[in-house]
């Protein structure tokens, strides 16, 4: 079959961008809640794995190290197919549609959340491990000196302080996670990418609809950038660190001024 080329349809592009179909919005919604739920689970699992890697028990360290090694060392795409199709094909486990608190989660979405959370938890555990290591050892000693147990010191002193070092790389990972949800289309999760593909094949407006999708992904990551900046400023304030009042625009301006002066001085 020959598909004749269509010129860029401006009105289709704007219509889908400004008044997206309910199907597209549903995909967008799934992309968001799958990312958020998976990231939240990944932080919890990652914290447990990070603490296990610092354990005094060699076996616990070994198990945690193995976990990170496997999950970071294999592609997310392969993990997805193993968890959703592989487990079902061998009759080990089949993800069934499930209704929780009045919300129905279809099987593929459950598999997606589980796999993304496990995959991301391996990266989170490394980020949290680095965050814990960045807290000065004197903080732990101060907590112990007032009679805290090592567990209390971890909970009330070390982990809260590690958060300050964890948020920036965590934000970076979450940004990647939101975009990586597009691979979920492989197991049939009706998220933004799969819906976009469907619209594309039924309308042949491939360029227009994928450009719309790109703008929506960009909007999601942009919103997250602002949330992250707000979170970082909030943590800084809770440490009594005065905000420097440097907006993102100011930072950009500075960056370009720097590169311009550099260019000038090189010419001079």
């Amino acid at each position: 079959m020959l598909i004749s080329a269509l010129p860029f349809n401006t009105s289709f592009f704007w219509h889908e961008l400004l008044r997206p179909s309910s199907g597209f919005l549903g995909g967008l919604g799934r992309t968001v809640y799958i990312s958020v739920l998976s990231q939240a689970l990944a932080v919890i699992i990652g914290l447990v794995v990070a603490l296990a890697r610092r354990s005094t028990l060699r076996i616990l360290r070994g198990v945690a190290g193995f976990y990170v090694w496997v999950l970071r060392g294999t592609p997310l795409l392969v993990q997805l197919v193993i968890v959703y199709d592989g487990l079902a094909a061998t009759n080990i486990y089949r993800f069934q549609d499930m209704t929780l608190l009045g919300v129905t989660l279809i099987g593929s979405v459950q598999a997606a959340i589980v796999t993304l959370a496990l995959n991301e938890s391996a990266y989170m555990s490394e980020i949290i491990r680095a965050g814990l290591a960045a807290v000065d050892v004197g903080q732990n000693e101060a907590a112990l000196s007032i009679g805290m147990t090592p567990a209390q010191s971890m909970r009330h002193v070390v982990v809260p302080q590690a958060m300050r070092f964890v948020i920036p790389p965590l934000g970076n990972d979450f940004n990647a996670m939101m975009k990586n949800t597009s691979v979920l289309s492989v197991i049939g999760v009706p998220e933004m990418f799969l819906i976009t593909q469907e619209i594309s094949s039924s309308t042949f407006h491939t360029f227009e609809i994928f450009l719309d999708a790109a703008l929506y992904y960009l909007a999601l990551t942009t919103i997250w950038t602002f949330i992250q900046a707000w979170l970082e400023a909030k943590i800084d304030r809770s440490w009594g660190i005065v905000p420097t009042h440097r907006s993102m625009l100011a930072a950009l301006r500075e960056h370009f001024q720097d590169s311009r002066t550099l260019g000038l001085s090189r010419r001079a």
Binding site: D136, G138, Q139, E141, A142, A143, L144, S145, I146, G147, M148, T149, P150, A151, Q152, H156, V157, P160, Q161, R164, S238, W239, G240, I241
Partner: protein, 269 residues
């Protein structure tokens, strides 16, 4: 005198209550022997200043007292507790659990050279944390206690300041208040003024001096000879992992008997 001592209190030959009894403490890091059999008894209300060249083992000895370092051998008793250990039913010494060690440490205040205040908590919250989490005190009671302690160290106007907003001298006074809030039987100071600007050393020493006048039992690692002369009941001179000389300040500073004490004093005076 003895009747006022709590049960389990150990007494020395003169019948004075022993707060610290450290006997033949040895500690090595790898092949480096940092403490070569150090013994020290401190009675209630006594102030002992530890001096000596850096690397002589003063800080390691202090850290062995509250079990930040586990001695390779030797015994530490603080306020009737065998630190880091307990006696099993057969009377043998076995390692104490993390929880038991924590309970022992709650009775020993430790003031660090670099303060180690919790940077994400205000001065008041720094002081309240121990009473709330360790002693399970109610928030209201802990707040009243923390306000009292901060007032005692002269910081009633800095309760809500974060460590980043305080000077070094103020930070160290908050750190002292944080330790005092646990009502310790013994206070350990690890070079409490070494990280401070000269003009704020005095305010921290004043707080420690007040504590001495209140009868607090203290062991202080310090290089401040004038201060030691004033507050110390005894000065212990460390060198090469041993106490080479110990006595009242006048004797140690003015009439040292050991060549190594004289050598150290000639460098710092």
């Amino acid at each position: 005198m003895t009747s006022s001592n709590p049960p389990g209190t150990r007494l020395n030959g003169d019948g004075a209550a022993l707060i610290l009894e450290a006997t033949e403490i040895r500690k090595s890091f790898g092949s480096q022997e940092v403490l070569k059999s150090v013994s020290l008894d401190v009675t209630r209300g006594e102030v002992v200043v530890l001096m000596g060249p850096s690397g002589s083992g003063k800080t390691t000895f202090l850290r062995c007292i509250n079990h930040f370092e586990k001695p390779n051998s030797g015994v530490v008793w603080v306020n009737g507790h065998l630190i880091g250990s307990k006696l099993d039913r057969g009377g043998r010494r076995v390692d104490a659990s993390a929880r038991e060690i924590a309970r022992q440490r709650a009775e020993i205040g430790f003031v660090f050279q670099h303060f180690n205040l919790f940077p994400n908590r205000t001065a008041l919250e720094n002081v309240m944390l121990g009473p709330i989490e360790v002693q399970k005190m109610s928030k209201d009671k802990a707040r009243t206690l923390a306000v009292d302690q901060l007032t005692k160290v002269g910081l009633s106007n800095k309760m809500d300041a974060y460590p980043a907003q305080l000077s070094g001298g103020q930070k160290q006074r908050v750190a002292i208040a944080r330790s005092l809030a646990m009502s310790p039987a013994l206070m350990l100071f690890d070079e409490p003024t070494s990280a401070l600007d000269p003009e704020v050393i005095g305010e921290v020493l004043t707080v420690i001096r007040d504590l001495a006048n209140d009868g607090m039992t203290m062991i202080i690692v310090s290089h401040e000879i004038g201060f030691a002369r004033e507050v110390a009941d005894r000065v212990a001179m460390f060198d090469d992992g041993q106490i080479v000389e110990i006595g009242v300040p006048q004797q140690v500073f003015d009439n040292p008997t050991q060549a190594r004490t004289k050598a150290f004093l000639s460098k710092v005076l």
